[in-house]
């Protein structure tokens, strides 16, 4: 999607959506500090907006932001080397290892989630927040049935089971399934 935004806010919010997660994990991979990574990514994305006139193409912009983030990370690392403020304690090692693994794992999961359509992702997010389907439908301006379908699509795409998801998705769907099956066949035993 080519985009030369000369002041279009929607375009920027799309860019933000597309790039935020990937940039965050990219930064984290370099500096292993959550808050700092968040800040860096935020600032660099903001600078995309501030310099929007300067970019000639999407590729241009992508290159810019990755380089900017990377340089900011290196600056941070250099700063840390000089101003180390905590002693390194061996007992923290195990937890740090866990943190690293965890971030890496979650980045893989998030990559898949970023591949969902915005609607699917929105439904998924709201489901994770335990918002009932009726409200999700209202918020997005779609039917409740569509909410179930979107959620089902999301689960299928992820190929990954999450607690709480299966419950809400399946009973209604397979009730539908059952109704359809009953309508189309004469005898229940014909199915198997």
């Amino acid at each position: 999607m080519r985009r030369l935004h000369l002041g279009d806010q929607t375009a920027f919010s799309e860019i933000y959506n597309q790039f935020y997660t990937r940039l965050y994990y990219y930064a984290y991979g370099l500096i292993h500090n959550r808050e700092e990574a968040e800040d860096i990514v935020l600032n660099k994305l903001l600078s995309i907006w501030q310099r929007r006139h300067a970019f000639k193409s999407r590729a241009d912009m992508k290159a810019y932001v990755y380089v900017a983030v990377r340089n900011a990370c290196y600056d941070y690392l250099a700063y840390m080397k000089v101003h180390r403020t905590t002693e390194f304690r061996p007992e923290e090692m195990a937890d740090q290892k866990y943190e690293l693994f965890r971030e890496e794992l979650i980045s893989l999961v998030m990559e898949e989630i970023e591949k969902l359509t915005p609607r699917e992702r929105a439904v998924m997010h709201m489901t994770l927040e335990e918002i009932p389907e009726k409200e999700i439908a209202e918020q997005l301006g779609i039917s409740v049935k569509r909410v179930y379908n979107l959620r089902y699509e999301a689960i299928q795409k992820l190929k990954f089971r999450l607690p709480g998801f299966v419950w809400m998705a399946m009973p209604v769907l397979e009730k539908l399934l059952r109704t359809c099956l009953l309508e189309s066949s004469s005898h229940p035993l014909d199915y198997f």
Binding site: L42, K81, F88, Y98, M110, E129, K134, W167, M170, P188
Partner: protein, 446 residues
Amino acid sequence: MLRAYRIPHINSILSMQEVQTIPGLIYKYLKDDLTRTERDELMDWVNQSPENLSLFERLTDREMIRNAIREMLDIKESMWEKLVAKAPELQNEPVRRTYTKPKYSVAAVVLVLVLGAAAYFIIRFRDQEPATAGNTPSDTSSQKPIVAVNITPAGHHASLTLPNQSPIVLDGSTRDTISLAAGVPITARQPHTIQYALQAKEQYGRDSAGPLHILSTPRGGLYNIILPDGSTAFLNAASSLRFPPVFTDSVRQVFVTGQVLFNVAAIAPSNGKKIPFLVTILNSNGEEKTTIEVLGTYFDVNAYQDHALLKATLLEGSIRIYDITEKNNRKNKPIVLLPLQQAILDRRGNFTVRKKVDTAAVVSWTKGSEGVFNFYNLPLQEALGEISRWYNVDVLYKTDVSLLSPIASILPRNAPINKIIEVLNLIYRPDILFTLEERTIVVSRP
């Protein structure tokens, strides 16, 4: 503003290779997408140290992952707010602030619960049948549904019976080595596996296998075993495996009831001749029925006899199935299965082969509480059989269910039993009513 600073040279201390490969493998594990080599690689890493095992368990905690995803999506949105604060001209275009605060949802959830309980209460009131023994006074409370006392999803329990000895209970508190009069050391590994010492090549030369050992699981119990040839067997609830402590060089034969997932090692100790592995199914009388011949493969045997007598599903390798029931006296014509195929032997003695089954669904039980019940087009009776074995509950049929449409549903295996009952009721309303009385699921017409 205080921050937690991390030391940048972490990378030089931890193995960078680990960080690059292990999370990827774990992710594939969670998606059920590992090749056999990858699985072995992951398991090797897990077994390297208790620290790795603990890491693995923490990283495969789906609740944690669910929260992490939610957190990440939240952060993304809140970061946008921050950004807009710095560049107010963007204010008109919210990213996707599409949901209101959770307080609304809490009210909704509470409402649903109360309604559900009231409906439940009303239905029970209408039920004319005298309740079976054990109805506690709390049943008549309209505030909450029956509390399932001590009914938990399956855990790791089993018992090992050695010849001429009473059964040894295995439940994760087993001591590390169970030594044996015959001298074969058995180690209890982790909370759910026992391992027989790998037998040396020379030991395969014996004539007879000797008396068999029996590993059996009760309802609600799962267990793993590593056999003396390195093959592994994973037993589902209410299953058993009879095997010799030392295999001979002519054949490795084991006997199965219930459901077992095998991962058979190819063994060719002397002169390169492969020793076949035979799995013989025993029926309820302990008679030998079908036998499956294996040459180093990964397959699941379901011999619960709920519906079909046997369902053998092949994941990798190849197997031959010999049926020695009276109907198919032609012992020389085995059924050969290729990966992803499933052979079903029905009660009438006929074999059917399905070409491409969803193997992840078939072996989902091996994930324990992480897995699901994959009831795809399954007769209700069979599904209830699975549920009864998993939760260690009985099923009382007060009405015939064989003419009902089959279930098509996926339910998590770590769900509390009440939830399962709720879903069953939802599916079969208004034809059938499911209730839980003490440790029995009662199936009746409302």
